[in-house]
Structures are given as C-alpha cells and as structure tokens.
Symmetry: C2
Subunit: 120 residues, 2 copies
DNA sequence: TTTGATACGGACAAATTTATCCGTTATTGC
DNA sequence: GCAATAACGGATAAATTTGTCCGTATCAAA
C-alpha cells in the first residue's frame, strides 16, 4: 500500500512539478540506467547495488505511475519484465543533462559546502 | 541544532548535487523571491504565506550554508537583514528556468498523473 | 504601556521517505 | 530434491524532513 499524503502538494510553478516526479533517492539513477538500455529489474539492481531490490521496485512503481517509464511484462516463465522510457520520460533527458552539467561545473564548490554542512 | 545525517550522501553525478541543494519544500520559492528582489525575511514570508516563519528561516539557513544565497546583517536597530543570490545562486537561475519550462510544458499530463497517484 | 514589527532559534511532534526483514511463485541447472 | 535466479510486495523500523509551540530581544508607534 502506498503512503497517503496528508498535506497538500504545491505545484505552483513548473519546477515544483519537476521536483515532484524527480524526488526519490534512486529515481535519477533508475532513469539513467533505463535510458542507457538496462531494462530488466535485476540488471538495474546490479548497477545500483547500494539500494535494496525492494526500494528500487517501489521507486520504479512511482516512475510508472508518474508516466515517466512504462513496464512491459512478457508474461512468460521464467519471468521477464522490461522498463523503458515513455515519451514524457524521454523529454526529461535533456533537462536532466542541463542540471547535471550545472552540478558538474560546480562540483568542487558544492561538495565542499555540502561536506561542511554535515560536520558542524 | 541541525540534523546529523546517518547514511552517506550520494553525489555521483551532477544531478545529485543539484537535487541535494534544491531539496527542501520551500527552497525554490525562496530563491525565486530573492531573485525577484524581495530580500528581507519578513517580505519573503509575506510572499510565501503557506509556510511558517520558523520553517522559512531554517531553509534560508541551508541555502546560505550551501552557498546559494548570502545574508547581510546591517547591525542596526530596528533589525535589518537582507538576502541576495551569490554568484553560484545566480548560475542556478537558467537551470531552474529550464526545469520549470519542462514542467509547464507538461503540466496537464503531470498534474493528472500526480493527482491519480494520490487517490488510490 | 500595550501592540506590533523586526529578527532568531530551541524543543518537540507530525509527516514523509527510505531501509530491513521476510514470505510468495515459478523455472533452470546441478 | 536443493540452490540460484527472476519477479513482487506486506509489515514494520529507522531515518529524515517539515510543522507547531513557544521564548528571546529591540524599537516604534498608538
């Protein structure tokens, strides 16, 4: 069962919409894997070993519900399931690349700041 | 006292860096207000009435610690404090605009999906 | 002198997200 | 049969974020 929000979601501006569907610790990595052709849940898990399979499944479900990826079940035994980006998911790639570029360009400063926050 | 993280922060890719400094329910609105010339805490609060002053202060502090805004205390009575974007904060504006544009372009679909998640 | 504006943050509760533990089903290979 | 792989999700604990309730201080104006 999925968690039921108790406070209203704010979607004033487009950035809030973006944050809403992107928030989730592993979602970026998941989208990235799928974009790079790793489609099966087990394969994805092998590329994101820090997270448990359970958690990845949950976030994959959210991505599906938000319409960024689609899930194809081949209905064969042994099981086979594949995820792929939807059109909406694809439209997100250049946006992700823009933000990722900003992060990389400022990595040194950002890492230092983030680090100093986590000690005092 | 600020919360002490217990699990390691993941900063593999630039997008994670972006998410790290942008995560926080009111940060976008705060940056937006400051960018648009509303600099004093009380004024900012008037533009974001859904949040309590306490919460806004906390997130403003985080933005300062992450180096996105700077805080100038005029050391006069009655109190006067002003926030402004740092160079790093400014460099974020076009990135925010890119993601916001994506959100707006897909608002209809996204709102519908987000909404349907919140009912079943 | 009481009210209101400015500014800030401790202490704690509530909401939300993430992680861990385990149980299910079915197939392949040894 | 027994272990490994593939797939999925309930129940619950732990971590993290957000919100609420207060208390501090200074000054101005009514």
């Amino acid at each position: 069962m999925m968690y039921q929000k108790k406070t209203p979601t704010i979607l004033d501006c487009g950035l809030h919409l973006f944050m809403e569907v992107m928030s989730g610790k592993w979602k970026i990595s998941l989208l990235w894997s799928i974009y790079h052709g790793i489609k099966r849940p087990s394969g994805i898990h092998k590329t994101i070993t820090q997270a448990s399979r359970r958690v990845l499944d949950a976030q994959l479900n959210q991505l599906v519900l938000h319409g960024l990826i689609s899930r194809k079940d081949y209905h064969i035994k042994p099981y086979k399931v594949e995820y792929s980006l939807t059109e909406l998911g694809h439209s997100l790639i250049p946006v992700i690349e823009t933000t990722a570029r900003w992060g990389e360009e400022n990595r040194l400063v950002l890492e230092e700041k983030i680090f100093s926050c986590s000690i005092d």
